[in-house]
Symmetry: C2
Subunit: 214 residues, 2 copies
DNA sequence: GTCTATAGGCAGATAGAC
DNA sequence: GTCTATCTGCCTATAGAC
């Protein structure tokens, strides 16, 4: 029935559109780009997502859900708070390795031109990420694996901003080491004792798999 | 002779285009937008800047020059290295107060879609900023006003990435305090003794003037 | 669900008058 | 230097057949 049995059309549309937005931005991709890549027509796209705003909102919703799932996966590892932060940084690193920007980081840059329905969703992504970070940092201050100079909330904002910015700047250079250095340098400032590097030695297959969802 | 005696047309074009790129992005502004605001025609714009790529390159060149000028102005204040970092953070804060993104931070997000002639210029902006920061941090490690966990170069990259990211995230919230908290929290991690807040008390008129050039 | 065909608009850019 | 007029192309979106 479906052209390809493994994945339905709506999902394949989201996959392609997500990559295009993360690489080019919401304002720099078109229905024609997605249609050409999937070898369907623009009209078929409009059947699944009536407007570009609808497609954009679906992208943010799915991305946020996948990201939260990844964060909950990190929680289940039962590592120290600092180890959780290292896993969190790996999520961003895996985005850069695929030559992408964080979807919501990209949309934050384009915020003023976004359809209004997308704006609150982008902020919600940051809010939920920040909530998770604040909880981890709070936990780390208690168990002694993290030493925060400010409040847990402010430190969470610092960490998130720093990784978003490291992604933003490192990507044009195509330099993963540049991101790694910033991330590990940041986490070192939050560590009573210096943490191990966040990328070497190589990660397990499970960790990689979890990281690639975003 | 000129429509307005105080500023020539090319400069007014750059002023408007710069703001539009910082607010909306390079891909989300048009010659029509600039022309309408200046009440001239698109054809007149093409006389001054033959192509959008030319206009974009001119924007980056001017912005970089102004930014370097501001950094050199900071050098002339003869404050401590930490005070120089605080002034540096104020430059970014003043961008946010005008509801803008750093021009080159915005272009970094759009990097993959930029005319090739603009790309190297964007990286050059980051390189030169990073060089300045590395020198200041080196100086601070010597005079004892800065305690860096990693190398001066890596710390410079951390600081720049962090402020770019704080700008990226805080702007959609329209929340200057969110940026301030991240910036002062960052600088606190680099301080042997806690620094004063980077925004309060109010700055001198001279400092504000220097900050608004970017 | 996917197609063809097309509407209506805006993009960047150019020619040539003044 | 600035204008009018226009070109070509791409954009989002819709109508209606299959």
């Amino acid at each position: 029935m479906t052209p390809r049995a493994d994945t339905d059309t709506a999902t394949r549309i989201l996959d392609v559109a997500e990559r295009l937005v993360q690489v080019r931005g919401f304002n720099a991709f078109s229905y024609a780009d997605v249609a050409a890549e999937l070898q369907i027509t623009k009209a078929a796209l409009h059947y699944h997502f009536a407007s570009k705003a609808d497609l954009g909102s679906a992208l943010v919703a799915r991305y946020t859900g996948d990201f939260i799932d990844a964060l909950e996966g990190i929680d289940r590892t039962d590592g120290s708070a600092m180890q959780k932060l290292e896993h969190y940084a790996e999520l961003y690193c895996s985005v850069l390795e695929r030559r992408r920007m964080c979807l919501c980081g990209m949309l934050a840059a384009e915020y003023q031109t976004l359809p209004t329905g997308m704006r609150d969703s982008v902020l919600a992504f940051f809010d939920r990420t920040e909530d998770w970070l604040a909880e981890v940092i709070e936990q780390g201050c208690d168990d002694g694996s993290i030493r925060a100079a400010g409040s847990a909330r402010d430190t969470a904002r610092l960490v998130m901003s720093c990784l978003e910015g490291a992604l933003l700047v490192a990507r044009p250079y195509g330099d993963v080491d540049r991101f790694d250095a910033a991330a590990s340098n940041l986490l070192r400032t939050l560590t009573p004792a210096p943490p191990t590097s966040i990328r070497r030695p190589a990660h397990s297959a499970k960790t990689r798999s979890a990281a690639s969802v975003v």
